[in-house]
Amino acid sequence: MRNKKVAIGFALVFFLLFPSALALAGTPSAEVPATRQELAPMGAMVTEFAKSTGLFGYLSPASGKWTEGIGSILMAGVGLLMLFLAINKGFEPLLLVPMGFGCILANIPLAGIANPGGIIDYIYQIGIKTGVFPLLIFMGVGAMTDFGPMIANPKTALLGAAAQFGIFSTLIGALVLTEIVPGIHFDLFDAASIGIIGGADGPTAIFLASQLSPDLLGAIAVAAYSYMALVPIIQPPIMRALTSPAERKIRMTQLRYVGKAEKIVFPLIVLGLCMLFLPSAAPLIGFFMFGNMMRECGVVERLSKTTQNALINIVTIFLGLGVGSRLSAESFLNLETLGILFLGVIAFGIGTASGILMAKLMNRFSTIKINPLIGSAGVSAVPMAARVSQKLGMEEDPENMLLMFAMGPNVAGVIGSAVAAGVLLTLKNLVV
């Protein structure tokens, strides 16, 4: 009861004092423009407000282009599809959720969130166009990667090299499509950015695309991450087709012990090689190896933990949103995107096949046999591709554990695709 009285008292004081305070505050200053004091007639107000709704923006876009009207609705549908795939099917949810939502945000008519000056355009300009976000992610990946299996059996790194053939064959494929399909125009830079999808490495693909052909970034990122999620579906048929049951049963000799000193020296070796032979790959390999050094040196556990968890998570959010901002109808709903999606599958397929064929080739010349199933893990996609090798090995022989052996080519594949990206980055100097 008492509370009620107090509340009424306050309300009275507020309603009496506030208008009088306003009145005392004085007359409107002369600086306020006269136009801000009057409103248009009610009818005009309603029409103007109707014109500022999203509905009007969809139905009658200001530019008159279909891509800004119905195209935006379709793109919001693409964003919803990405959310569906992430939430319901578990496809790379960490990236597809921010990316899908970013795509929806970017396609709100009249809001201009992804236009110059809009919030997610700033995120794109600051983090992706500069290449900062993909590199920070790469640092986190380095801090999460254990190179032990590769150091223990260094020969398997060659499988990771062979699998990069997927990148370059797709590059040729993109150029062939340009020749034979009217409506598709990829130049060498575009073809290189599309090829890197075959590296099965999201940050590398985004980094290269942001440097060589930013226009295709959205489609390339979507293709790279969707197909990485589809590795367990794309790879097994190819692996079964290229290997015999006897080959799939091959057991590999146990991996030797890898010491701490070896693991600390390893990132320095890779960095040294990069310094000497491929400085163009230095941003990617440098950050990757810096992350790995933090992990292995054992004295900066706090930094290593942060890089592996908090930092990579924060950057992933903004990377996803930033990529989403490039998903506009104009740049996404065209024949070229279909071409990129088609070429992406081919890239993964060829990468898988060439890894397996390389393993079979190595078995021809070596007495210590390797199970060709681990060759397919050369297409990065850590650790999904290695898990696929393990699964197929167990189908043939339930006691054959291939996971640790497959991690060798798997992590070598990450280095391999970074090297390939380094070569492709030199395109800027090679083109005449």
Partner: protein
């Protein structure tokens, strides 16, 4: 342009293979230099695990002995009470 792609493929695959071959070579060299340290580290680790296992083994065996003694005592007691009845 397709010819350009083939040229790029040739260059790219060569560089990737050479880079990883060199890496394999360097890793093998580093193993040669560090194998002594590796062996020492491994020996220390094995000694530590052995010690741990031995400790757990001894504690386990005393427990087992205790259980055996108690159960034997109970059995003897039951047998005696049966006899008395």
């Amino acid at each position: 342009m397709i010819i350009a792609g083939i040229k790029l493929t040739f260059l790219g695959m060569t560089v990737v293979f050479l880079f990883l071959l060199l890496l394999v070579f360097c890793v093998n060299i580093s193993f040669r230099f560090l194998s002594a340290a590796n062996a020492r580290e491994q020996a220390e680790m094995e000694a530590a695990t052995l010690l741990k296992r031995r400790r757990s083994l001894t504690t386990k065996s005393t427990d087992e002995v205790l259980v055996a003694v108690i159960s034997a005592a109970i059995a003897a007691h039951r047998a005696r009470t049966l006899l008395v009845r």
